[in-house]
């Protein structure tokens, strides 16, 4: 894809995102450039909380954002991994923008915070095999 080629050529994240912000009208796609944040908490605050809310309780309007707080669906780590990689309805596809490590970190973060306490850790290898 043309936009992607330009982005690769430019290399750095900040410059690349500026280019994509001027993307043509036909190409307002999903994030494909690298996410600068590292570590579960920083990634949650940098990306997830905009919809799932800082307290991870989600929100309801004409549609809703599911709560991650006290969410039994997080028991199976494969579920959030898959939703982050592939997206689901209003949830964007983040697979291309996140590294395996970043996905593992944020999944580990949400599974051990906000009233969740699942102790089995996800590794970047788990994420890789889910891609």
């Amino acid at each position: 894809m043309k936009t992607q080629t330009t982005i690769r050529f430019l290399g750095t994240v900040l410059f690349a995102t500026l280019v994509s912000s001027s993307a043509t009208h036909a190409q307002l796609g999903l994030p494909r450039t690298g996410l600068p944040q590292q570590g579960g908490e920083a990634i949650y605050k940098g990306i997830c909380q905009g919809c799932h809310m800082p307290d991870a309780k989600g929100a309801v309007g004409a549609g809703m954002y599911p709560a991650l707080a006290n969410n039994p669906k997080l028991e199976t780590a494969g579920y959030p991994i898959s939703v982050i990689i592939h997206g689901q309805k209003a949830m964007p596809v983040f697979g291309a923008a996140f590294s395996d490590q970043q996905i593992a970190d944020v999944v580990n973060y949400i599974r051990t915070h906000f009233g969740n306490s699942y102790q089995d850790k996800v590794t970047p290898e788990d994420v890789k095999s889910a891609r």
């Binding site: 990306i47 905009g50 997206g87």
Partner: protein, 530 residues
């Protein structure tokens, strides 16, 4: 002057115009690419709806109101159900006294002075968006010029020139100058002989000298010619002691290793070419006037919870969006659904798998805007900037000065941040409204130091927290569009979708209009054939 080619397009058109009249000339112009605008083909003319036939429109945004207006004119009985308590949808302006409650429950009280506003959503209309412009004219929405390019506005890079903002005219002239110099030198030193014949070389060199303000040796230097492009340290004056003082060029290394070109390239695209317009009094004026025209047709505060179709018609279940309470139903023969895909994917609806999959495949892009009110127009009074856009590599990305109210002495509102459609936009819009206003002030003050003393109040809208859209606009990728776009637009029995997400102009109101016109045309055909 460069000679025209012997038989120019213009002379052909003249000939056609003289011999075949203006209609033929217009057609020829269109074919030759002169008069091309969006694919709006003039007002739609639907007529002859079956007696008693009815349509339920979901959503009173631009797409929904266009559909309702045109279908009512065609003879259908029409009702709109709208989630908000106002018409317009994303066509929306915030005025002093307004309250806005976002997802998560935070309410902002807009404190702008009387008459001042901020457009959280669409804010400019290029001249070729003839569909939305048609409805603006129909509704008698007064329009004014939107200033897109201002050579006096700034381009700022935190990594170039010590973070000092540079005027657009300096950046564009110096890019032109240095690029022309390099190209002219390569050409004159015969390094491009494999690519260019003698005539081309001569023509190119002639052009580059003027284009880049080069001297006789094809060098771009501090000079009268360069200052005539990039501006002066002291401009030419009158009377005694009036000699101009030429300005220093930006060093080439700093310029070429920066990303300042991004701000220049943006303006070159078709979407942002002038003339651009804005409605007088805020973009939301379109929605307001359309809503007035459709008074009695729109039922507000309706949160749709179920959409069901059978062989006779469509039944939509909804609850009061504010008070909740017992579900109510509305029924019609046909349905135009403009509910954003992000919301629609969460509403039970019995449509076929192709449409269902299309709806489920589409998430919406991130975007956030901040409006800031200042005590005075310091950008005009101190910096001689009248409208237009400043760009920065900071997260706020864009400052836009009001294209209206020039020279007013009172307070004014400018766009203090516009983060759009990139991974960092999630981070920007993930901040609280207060944090976004603070970020806009902090980052903007690196370009305009006056920010800190002149600031009065601000409002911030994060599009992923807008309760009725869950994002800015359809985030189509090429791959996703190839798989799902046609299915998204196809009529599914008695239901058709419309909105910017069903167009190839995502995030533009023109996309909403064109999508709506196409959808109702096909629905009308289906209704007549049924």
């Amino acid at each position: 002057m460069i000679d025209e080619t012997p038989v120019s397009r213009r002379s052909i058109l003249k000939l056609i115009g003289a011999s075949a009249g203006s209609a033929a000339m217009y057609q020829a112009m269109t074919e030759m690419g002169y008069a091309a605008t969006s694919d709006f083909n003039g007002p739609i003319k639907l007529s002859g709806a079956r007696k008693g036939a009815s349509v339920l429109v979901l959503g009173a945004g631009i797409a929904g109101m266009v559909a309702a207006y045109e279908l009512r004119k065609a003879g259908y009985k029409v009702q709109i159900l709208e989630y908000n308590d106002r018409p317009g949808g994303r066509n929306w302006s915030l005025y002093g006294g307004d309250k806005y409650t976002e997802l998560g429950g935070v309410t902002q009280d807009v404190q702008f002075a009387k008459g001042l506003y901020f457009n959280p959503g669409p804010w400019r209309i290029p001249y070729h968006h003839q569909g939305i412009l048609h409805y603006c004219q129909m509704l008698n929405v007064p329009m004014e010029n939107f200033v897109m390019v201002n050579n006096s506005a700034y381009i700022h890079s935190s990594r170039a020139f010590g973070g000092q903002p540079k005027r657009y005219r300096e950046v564009v002239s110096d890019y032109d100058g240095y690029i022309s110099e390099l190209l002219a030198k390569a050409t004159s030193q015969d390094k491009l002989d494999a690519a260019l014949d003698k005539d081309e070389k001569d023509g190119l060199l002639q052009m580059l000298r003027r284009w880049g303000a080069l001297d006789q040796n094809y060098e771009y230097k501090k000079s009268d010619d360069a200052s005539n492009m990039r501006g002066y340290d002291r401009p030419p004056g009158g009377g005694l002691d009036s000699l101009p003082v030429n300005s220093d060029l930006l060093p080439r290394k700093g310029l070429f290793s920066s990303t300042m070109w991004i701000s220049l390239y943006l303006n070159k695209s078709w979407d942002f070419q002038g003339t651009l317009f804005q409605p007088v009094g805020g973009m939301g004026m379109i929605g307001k006037l359309f809503g007035k025209l459709l008074q009695g047709v729109i039922k507000y505060d309706c949160k749709v919870t179920n959409i069901h179709q059978d062989e006779k018609g469509v039944t939509v279940t909804y609850v009061d969006a504010k008070k909740g309470g017992a579900p109510q139903t509305a029924h019609a023969n046909w349905c135009v659904c403009t509910i954003p895909a992000t919301v629609l994917s969460q509403i039970p609806m019995n449509v076929g798998t192709p449409l269902k999959n299309a709806i489920n495949s589409l998430s919406y892009i991130p975007a956030a805007k901040v409006g800031l009110q200042f005590k005075r127009r310091f950008w005009e009074q101190d910096d001689a900037i009248y409208g237009g856009n400043t760009y920065t590599d900071q997260p706020i990305f864009n400052i836009s000065y009001p294209s209206h109210g020039f020279f007013d002495k009172g307070p004014a509102v400018l766009l203090g941040a516009y983060s759009f459609a990139n991974i960092n936009s999630y981070t920007f819009e993930g901040q609280s409204a207060k944090e976004m206003v603070a970020a806009a002030l902090e980052q903007g003050s690196r370009i305009h130091p006056q920010y800190k003393t002149e600031f009065q109040n601000g409002v911030a809208v994060s599009w992923h927290r807008v309760p009725w859209t869950l994002g800015c606009s359809g985030g189509w990728t090429d791959e996703n569009r190839a798989r799902h776009y046609d299915n998204m637009c196809a009529v599914d029995n008695r239901i058709v979708l419309a909105g910017e997400h069903c167009s190839r102009l995502p995030a533009w109101q023109e996309g909403a209009v064109l999508s709506s016109l196409d959808a109702i045309k096909r629905l009308h055909q289906r209704a007549l054939a049924a």
